[in-house]
Symmetry: C2
């Protein structure tokens, strides 16, 4: 397993300090992947992402398939070149978005037919095609095409969906081999909130030679304690020497909890999306204790109390926003709908999430998590 190393294991929890090697560089874990849905982190440039210390970005296959499309992606020699991002990229398989299309898609065992809701253009996504597309994109980490069942769903639906997902996973692996693609491909454990289905899914997938394993179908509307339970069922079944990715999560305390439960990789729209709504993350102390219950708070920058607040959002924060601008200025930019405001809040929140992951890694290194 030369691409993945466990640098240190916690004695207090299942937390692991890891190093994942990709064609575009090494990633210290546990790590968080900011989201560049359409080949751009909303409101932030790649240079700013580098200054923030982002180690890897996540991009969405579905969105890139529609725009700019694979002809452009091929001509550009992949997403790294297209968006000018030198670091690693993980892509989802597109499955999640396609299944969310509702009446605009039709699933068969062979694959899924769907139409672009904007212009009606028709697509057919198969497991093979999902791997081909991610190869064209040049993703350092690819994800198998899976079906992510909604929450709640019947056990019957979850079981059938699981069988589909397992069969597709096999075909993805075969396609990767056929293409001689040397990048990483991760399987995705599904099974909704049913213990036996989750167990079966983990067993089936770990029997195949994936480079890492994701837990999917969480953060889709289920109560948060169910998510924690899924994690406790599945984690012991995952091979300890391969990376584990908890998809779509989450709030800061959830990331800490998931790391303690052996997870290495995360992605979430929360920091970027909430930034656009003016909700900002702030650590409660200069040296926050991430083991404590309330190591951070969120503030609404559009609250009238910030109108005249000439201090930075967080005087301890070292992000570009806090080092250069006051809360009052950001309040003003949000109130007057200047896009610069969205940039500054997004930078602040991403910095918070990336700092949190640093704190997590330091805590593991120091035996404190």
């Amino acid at each position: 397993m030369t691409y993945f190393k466990i640098v240190k294991k916690s004695k207090k929890s299942k937390a692991r300090l890891t190093k994942l090697t990709t064609k575009h560089g090494e990633i210290a874990g546990p790590f968080f992947m900011p989201i560049a849905t359409r080949g751009a982190v909303k409101n932030v440039s790649v240079d700013e992402m580098m200054e923030l210390g982002a180690q890897i970005l996540l991009s969405n296959t579905y969105h890139l398939l529609l725009e700019p499309g694979m002809a452009v992606m091929k001509k550009a020699s992949g997403l790294h070149q297209f968006m000018n991002w030198p670091g690693p990229i993980l892509t989802d398989s597109g499955g999640y978005q396609v299944f969310s299309l509702g009446k605009h898609r039709k699933i068969t065992e062979h694959g899924v037919y769907f139409a672009d809701p904007k212009n009606g253009n028709k697509y057919f996504l198969t497991p093979e095609r999902a791997v081909q597309i991610q190869s064209i994109i040049g993703a350092d980490i690819m994800m198998v095409l899976d079906e992510c069942p909604p929450y709640p769903c019947s056990k019957k639906y979850a079981k059938e969906s699981l069988e589909l997902t397992t069969g597709w996973a096999k075909r993805c692996l075969a396609e990767k081999k056929k293409l001689k693609n040397k990048n990483l491909l991760f399987g995705i454990v599904q099974g909704s909130t049913f213990k036996d289905l989750r167990t079966e899914s983990a067993r089936q997938l770990t029997a195949m030679n994936f480079d890492g394993f994701a837990i999917g179908g969480v953060a889709v509307g289920e109560p948060r304690q169910k998510m924690a339970q899924v994690l406790k069922w599945v984690e012991p079944l995952l091979p300890p020497d391969k990376p584990r990715y908890l998809m779509g999560l989450g709030r800061p305390e959830e990331l800490v909890m998931a790391v303690k439960n052996g997870m290495d990789m995360f992605d979430c729209v929360i920091p970027t999306r909430e930034a656009r709504h003016g909700r900002l993350y702030v650590f409660n102390f200069a040296k926050p204790n991430i083991n404590s219950k309330s190591f951070y708070k969120t503030i609404a920058i559009t609250n009238a109390k910030y109108k005249k607040d000439l201090k930075p959002i967080d005087k301890h924060c070292r992000c570009y926003t806090c080092k250069n601008y006051s809360a009052a200025y950001i309040y003003h930019l949000q109130k007057t709908q200047e896009h610069l405001g969205l940039r500054l809040t997004t930078i602040h929140n991403l910095n918070f999430y990336l700092e949190l992951m640093k704190l997590i890694r330091v805590a593991i290194r120091q035996g404190k998590l």
Copy 2:
């Protein structure tokens, strides 16, 4: 006249190479002022403005009066600190926006009553108040409160408006003296498109001790040749040893024309506004000849031909956008409405305008304009 120096005068035209000294630095002229309406250049940070080589920004008194308001501005010790811009700032007087409010404002000799169309908040702007506000903002260059008559307007209207403007100019100058404000205050020559009124306005204003003179009421919808005519009427009446500012202009060839007619300072929404609509300015050659008729072109980046164009917008351009991204990527960002696209196009267009001013200064220095 220690704040203003004519470094070189052209022998071929009325063009002048100038140096204007303000509390926040020297400005090489002729120069262009990018617009930061609400204390932010739309989509661009102050760091990016510095990297672009912007020497001065223009901000709008009317907008700042409404948001964030003068209480915040006072507490922040002015706009420089509030927006974190270390260079010079020119503010308009707010008159232009107030008079555009139509039924929401009422003019008397004493001043103008107006209401914020958004929330109905009432304001009363007098010449004295305009100078007080610009003092709170900390503008390096302030403008007198004037009435800018619409085009077309009757001679009667233009004449009455002119009398108001002259009276107000006098009161602005008195208020500046009273406040012991050591920054610069410019008078504004009005008079619509009537030669005798323009002449009278110039005569009245230059009799007062302003630090510079602007030509206002152009680029308000009149035919462009009328604007050129106004310039030819007014320019000879302006003192040669003070800066001249042609307000609200213009297209690249108009800037060249105006410089040849003795103008030193410009501001315009064109580069930033057109960038937001995907219209980009490109020089026609690596070493463009600004004396030629067609030294540049504009392109519509949303044109389908750019979808697969992996070259930069302009291979000779050294802006951040052209050095780092392809036309295809910018096309993609515009098509998918990613704000980053607006940033990249705005940077490109501002770079074009600032480069154009550099070319103009070099041409004057080399005796070629």
